[in-house]
């Protein structure tokens, strides 16, 4: 599977503006009207790396790209405490469990 960087054909250190430009170029060549799935892939790639926050989240929580041992090492060796909020912790936990589908609620069911 291609990484968002490969889909948009941008360097891993590209700036927000470069990523936006690349995204618009791709959309121009692949309008949603022509090939919806292709467009969704492009848009998905864009939303996952469009700004600092999403790139960090992509790097941290995307399976299997994240190396948790290394992340843990990093966390233990940086002076600043890692910024992992409850939301991220849940995602981290899920990623650790290898569960790609968040199971978050039960449907309302009538007693039969």
């Amino acid at each position: 599977m291609n990484t968002p960087y490969e889909i948009l054909e941008v360097a891993t250190d590209a700036t927000d503006a470069e990523i936006k430009q690349a995204y618009l170029r791709k959309v121009k060549d692949n309008p949603p009207d022509r090939d919806q799935e292709r467009f969704q892939r492009i848009h998905g790639a864009y939303t996952s790396i469009k700004d600092e926050k999403s790139r960090l989240s992509y790097a941290l929580f995307t399976i299997p790209a994240a190396d948790f041992d290394e992340l843990l090492d990093q966390a233990l060796h940086t002076t600043q405490a890692p910024q992992v909020g409850p939301e991220h912790f849940k995602q981290l936990l899920r990623a650790g469990l290898g569960e790609t589908m968040p199971v978050n609620a039960m449907p309302h069911a009538q007693k039969s």
Partner: protein, 587 residues
């Protein structure tokens, strides 16, 4: 040769049809009129009237005329028109059929496909109804696009530099606001918000109520029971509103409006712009709240917006421009005719779908959150109808999201899935748009995983499927509550019914070659005068003696026959006689 796809703006008060030809967008005129009033009526002989003629008839025969049908789209109701009942889709189809015929006449060839615009804030049901209207009219609706987006396309197609625009679209019945980024040939909608029951009609209604109060206070008469008087009051209110766009005062004069206790009541009242603006202030405030919600949805502030685009006839109201000016600090734009730019955008999108070389690509979003209900918590308490959003507001179209759920009982044989549209954490406060049951589940303990997939297509129509994960047992639906009356057989019936209505007037509107003139060609001044006299006479019916009325009815019959036979000479005598009677009655 490319296939012809027309672009249609099917508005609450006015409709237009446009096309891209030789690289240029053009709104197609019917005669010299580019705007077709969205009025449908039936005349004395059972002929169907669409547009200007129906709008004129509204004054005399409100019971045989329908206006603002768009406000009822998606509702499961029947509209009475000259004793027959019609679904809102059928009335809209009549307007679409006329627009189709206008385009066919201009292009000299049949047209079978269209891009139709809908308010961004139109719900799933309203979109389905619009598509059905197209089908009844014999048009395949290849795409529905949002009105503010279409306007942005019309403006943005020529933009070279990157721009962020806010489109403020206030029409006759609906309000939309969209934040749009135009850059590198891509028109990208960042957020949309709106209200699908707010528009110029509400402004008219405020004036109408003001006039009714005036009549009540001055003459102690309730005009609501008099349908003809109401039609005149409605027109007077609309005219006053339009006047107040340019002038500080409007004088409302309706003589012989109705009779009360044996005396004729004349409506005469001056309305100032200030009074009017006070009446509509709440509505304007609501639109500005929506502007802020849209900005927030795009994660922008007013300072990030480079241009404000005004769309829809109601944006001619001066206080709207003033309020937007004070909000954004610059004048909003209205260079492209606010009545026409939506149809132009639809034509651009139509050309793109039809394979023509167009340098603008459109990326739109949904203004609604879609989700389901599940057992969960609400405000920290156990609650069986917790709303679980699946596709969030302002998601890019098309959008496909899957979520997983579990059964709650051991040996549960089925799950009932409800799909809601809205933002409230309590699903019951949102709009239920569809329900279905997945049955025949495995006999296992609670925790059987069911995946739910919501797929929102480019038209903003939702497709839903649910699957038992372990077995692949699947159930899927397209949300189509509006279709209850309109399964495809019913659509065919409706199509024939509407076509036969047109058959009264046009030899065969679907066969090309020699398109018939659609309405009586521009009426001779004598005919115009005769119609006025008849309208005047009929407005007096309620207050004249039976013998006078009988004379008038006879004369009207003679005049109508002359008009039908186009006998201008023969008109003179009965019209003169009728005018004499009117003069006698009114003096």
């Amino acid at each position: 040769m490319n296939e012809i796809i027309i672009g249609i703006d099917l508005g609450t008060t006015n409709s237009e049809v446009a096309i891209v030809g030789q690289g240029k967008v053009r709104v197609i005129a019917d005669g010299d009129k580019k705007i077709l009033p969205s009025f449908v009526g039936i005349d004395d002989h059972g002929n169907i009237l669409v547009g200007e003629t129906a709008k004129n008839q509204y004054l005399v025969y409100p019971e045989r005329t329908v206006k603002s049908i768009k406000r009822l789209m998606g509702q499961n109701i029947q509209i009475d028109l000259a004793g027959q009942s019609y679904a809102p889709q059928e009335i809209s189809a009549i307007i679409l059929k006329r627009l189709k015929a206008i385009a066919e006449k201009d292009l000299g060839q049949p047209v079978g496909k269209a891009v139709i615009t809908v308010p961004a804030y139109f719900s799933d049901v309203q979109r389905q109804a619009t598509r059905e209207a197209g089908e009844i009219a014999g048009l395949e609706v290849v795409r529905m696009i949002n009105e503010p987006t279409a306007a942005a396309l019309a403006y943005g197609a020529s933009q070279a530099e990157a721009k962020r625009m806010l489109v403020y679209d206030l029409g006759g019945g609906t309000f939309d606001v969209s934040v749009v980024n135009i850059q590198a040939g891509v028109v990208e909608v960042l957020s949309s918000h709106g209200d699908n029951h707010l528009g110029g009609d509400d402004f008219d209604q405020q004036i109408i109520e003001h006039l009714l109060r005036h009549l009540q206070n001055t003459y102690h008469v309730d005009a609501r029971a008099h349908s003809k008087a109401m039609a005149r009051i409605t027109r007077a209110a609309e005219n006053a509103k339009i006047l107040l766009s340019d002038q500080p005062y409007a004088q409302i004069e309706e003589e012989y409006l109705l009779e009360h206790d044996g005396s004729a009541i004349h409506l005469s009242l001056e309305l100032s712009r200030l009074e009017y603006e006070a009446m509509i202030e709440d509505y304007i405030n609501a639109t500005l709240d929506a502007v802020h919600i849209a900005l927030k949805g795009a994660k922008l502030t007013a300072a990030d917006i480079d241009e404000v685009i005004l769309v829809g006839g109601s944006t001619r109201t001066p206080c709207i421009r003033e309020r937007l000016f004070s909000e954004f600090g610059f004048e909003p734009h209205g260079e492209v005719d606010p009545d026409l730019c939506v149809a132009m955008g639809a034509a651009i999108q139509a050309a793109m779908i039809g394979g023509q070389q167009v340098d603008t690509v459109l990326v739109d979003v949904t203004p609604y959150t879609y989700g389901t209900s599940a057992i969960g918590t609400l405000n920290g308490e156990f609650y069986p109808f917790m709303f679980v959003p699946v596709i969030h507001k302002n998601s890019v179209l098309p959008s496909r999201k899957t979520d997983a759920f579990m059964t709650s009982h051991d040996g549960q044989e089925f799950v009932d899935v409800s799909i809601y549209q809205g933002e409230d954490p309590d699903a019951l406060n949102n709009t239920l748009i569809g329900e279905f049951r997945v049955e025949g589940l495995r006999d296992v303990s609670a925790g059987n995983v069911i995946t739910l997939t919501l797929d929102l297509d480019l038209n903003g129509i939702l497709h839903v499927s649910a699957q038992e994960k372990a077995t692949g047992l699947e159930k899927s639906i397209v949300i189509k509550n509006a279709l209850s009356r309109f399964e495809s057989a019913a659509l065919d019936t409706a199509r024939q019914r509407i076509t036969s209505l047109f058959g009264h007037l046009e030899s065969n509107p679907d066969e090309l070659g020699e398109p018939e003139p659609f309405e009586a060609p521009a009426a001779a001044p004598e005919i115009e005068a005769a119609r006025n006299a008849m309208a005047r006479a009929e407005s007096l019916f309620e207050q004249v003696s039976d013998s006078d009325k009988e004379d008038m009815v006879d004369l009207i019959g003679t005049i109508t026959a002359c008009i039908k036979a186009n006998d201008i000479e023969g008109l003179k005598e009965p019209v003169d006689q009728l005018n004499d009677i009117i003069y006698y009655l009114e003096s």
